[in-house]
Amino acid sequence: MDKYLLPIIWLAKLISFICKALRLGTGSTWAGHVALTLYPTILRCLEDDLVHGSILITGTNGKTTTVKMLVSILEKDGRSVVFNPTGANLLNGITSALIANVAFWGRPHSEMGVFEIDEASFPLALKMYDPEAVVVLNLFRDQLDRYGEIDLTAEKIHQALKGLSKGSVVVLNANNDYVNRLGKNLSAKVLYFDVCSCEPLARPSVYLSRFKIDGFDFETPLGGSYTIENALAAITVARSLGVGYEAMQEALRNFRPAFGRQEEFEIGGKRVKILLSKNPEGFNQNVKMLQSLETIETLLLVLNDNIPDGRDVSWIWDTSPASLLKLSRLIIVSGLRAEDMILRLKYSQREYQISNIQYQKNLKKALRLGLDETSKGSTLYIMPTYSAMLEVRKILTGRKIL
């Protein structure tokens, strides 16, 4: 190890310690940021030290859940894994996670890494090092004011994949047009996962997915067709790493949802389910999943336009929320741009009928109202944008409304 590296690791660890001590929630990436600035190749050095290298997972939707699924599987298989916490999916977040993973004298605790990475940062990461495997889940339109046009994103990712050597594995979603095309002209080994090749074993539901792949039955306590895609991605990587099917089955069966992604809380005998809905595709997928319910008692939509959400809320006009109005007894609309979301709901129907919509800009009051209107044993469903999801969780876990 380079003699300058260790002091930088110590410095970064100190920064991280201070951030934690001062409870700076956003501070989890500062350590990595400072380390990368002082020592630009630190990411490669730390990655090199992982005995079994690392896996990078990118895509518009499903990164966090897929990382969590793969980590659960690998841990079930007895491997020690370092991963980045949700939201810290830029280079600085990965670096922070790797720094936290090394002991005082620089030796890593874990043998391998699984990291989610923002689709815009993915090409930058591949310039720094060659991972064992990379996964591209899907590419959808998302926050054009931040990521730019999807054609360009796909092109940059393709160029980056072309630079991977023969030893790497590239795992791609066969059912997403943009991702499917990324497999062309690569030196790395390409593996496709394909939902069409798996047999569904249960009707679509909000609470469970069951399917059969390679002759094995899988079950996981998450709903929506995208859950099966995420699981297939994780299974494909695990299989390429030689993990047995039993470990995969067990890990997925006992899977706990990631932060805000179908995450559930219980409050006073009522359930709250958070379905992160941050772009048209994610929103529509959640709508589709909710259609498997006969009726929704209470639904809370929260639309924010903070930087992590994208400042532009135009995307809501690419969603199809009409069925939510038919399904729900009460829809509460909140958030910084609640007024836009109400308009979207109004214009989704021919006969406009908005008597089941309630406007409550204040999120805390909206949650209170939602819980009051939910009967015992029933579920309040929440579809928030990213920053709104964080706020919702903070209010709920802080129990501020009780």
Binding site: R311, S314, I316, D340, I354
Partner: protein, 244 residues
């Protein structure tokens, strides 16, 4: 009464929720008992534009915009020009607005030739000049229009065209001369997404009325709708920008 909307290239020019404008026009007609039909005019379509009363085209990605520009040289462009010259109503957003201009000059590479409906020129000055991104408020005939802009190109107006309005907040055409959008006869070009029309019901109705007057004569008058929620969203943007 019946309004027929021609949606140009909905499959290629479909960025930033611009289809919200179509949804808005359709609903506001339906709510008044006006029959409404949307004709999708894709590249392969041989539909004649004169069967439409209002043309709409939204923004697109660079690659798709090039495909459309190239295709329009084969006759569709001439047809659109004719439609507008005869006083037909058209709304063109962002990329479509640029495409209806004389040309788009990228930082590198050859010009992208436009249709010349609007006497405007658009330049992309490369990465040194940042994109124009953010909420916008425009003064249009003494009333406000609100929306969101996101464009790298900067547009300059010629003599044969008037601006749609003046910028109150945001960048507008070029963030220099305070103009936003362009008007030529009954054709309107603008950078405003949002989508534009749902939050600006007065402008949506203005377009519907223009198109119906073209078809049924100057006596056409639209019924009033309850626009409380529309103005609530409009005013929320004004408040956000400290204008209310």
């Amino acid at each position: 009464m019946k309004l027929t909307i021609g949606h140009l290239c909905p499959d290629l020019m479909n960025l930033y929720g611009d289809r919200g404008n179509i949804i808005c026009l359709v609903r506001r007609c339906q709510w008044r008992g006006i029959d409404v039909d949307v004709q999708e005019v894709s590249l392969s379509s041989n539909l004649e534009l004169r069967t439409s009363n209002l043309l709409f085209m939204g923004g697109g990605q660079d690659r798709q915009q090039k495909i459309v520009a190239e295709d329009f040289k084969k006759g569709r462009g001439e047809e659109i020009r004719e439609f507008i010259e005869k006083g037909g109503v058209g709304l063109f957003i962002c990329g479509a607005y640029q495409l209806m201009g004389k040309f788009y000059r990228p930082a590198e590479g050859p010009d992208l030739e436009g249709l010349g409906v609007f006497d405007i020129e658009t330049y992309h000055f490369g990465k040194e000049k940042p994109r124009c991104i953010g909420n916008v408020v425009v003064d249009w005939q003494g009333k406000t229009l609100v929306g969101f802009e996101n464009h790298g190109g900067r547009t300059y107006l010629g003599e044969r065209v008037k601006p749609l309005g003046t910028v109150v907040r945001g960048h507008g055409n070029n963030s220099e001369d305070g103009t936003e959008g362009a008007v030529y006869k009954n054709a309107f070009g603008t950078y405003l997404h949002g989508a534009l029309l749902p939050k600006n019901p007065h402008f949506a109705d203005y377009l519907i009325e223009l198109a119906l007057k073209n078809k049924y004569g100057p006596g056409v008058k639209l019924d009033t709708l309850d626009d409380t929620l529309e103005w609530q969203a409009h005013n929320a943007v004004l408040r956000k920008l400290g204008l209310k």
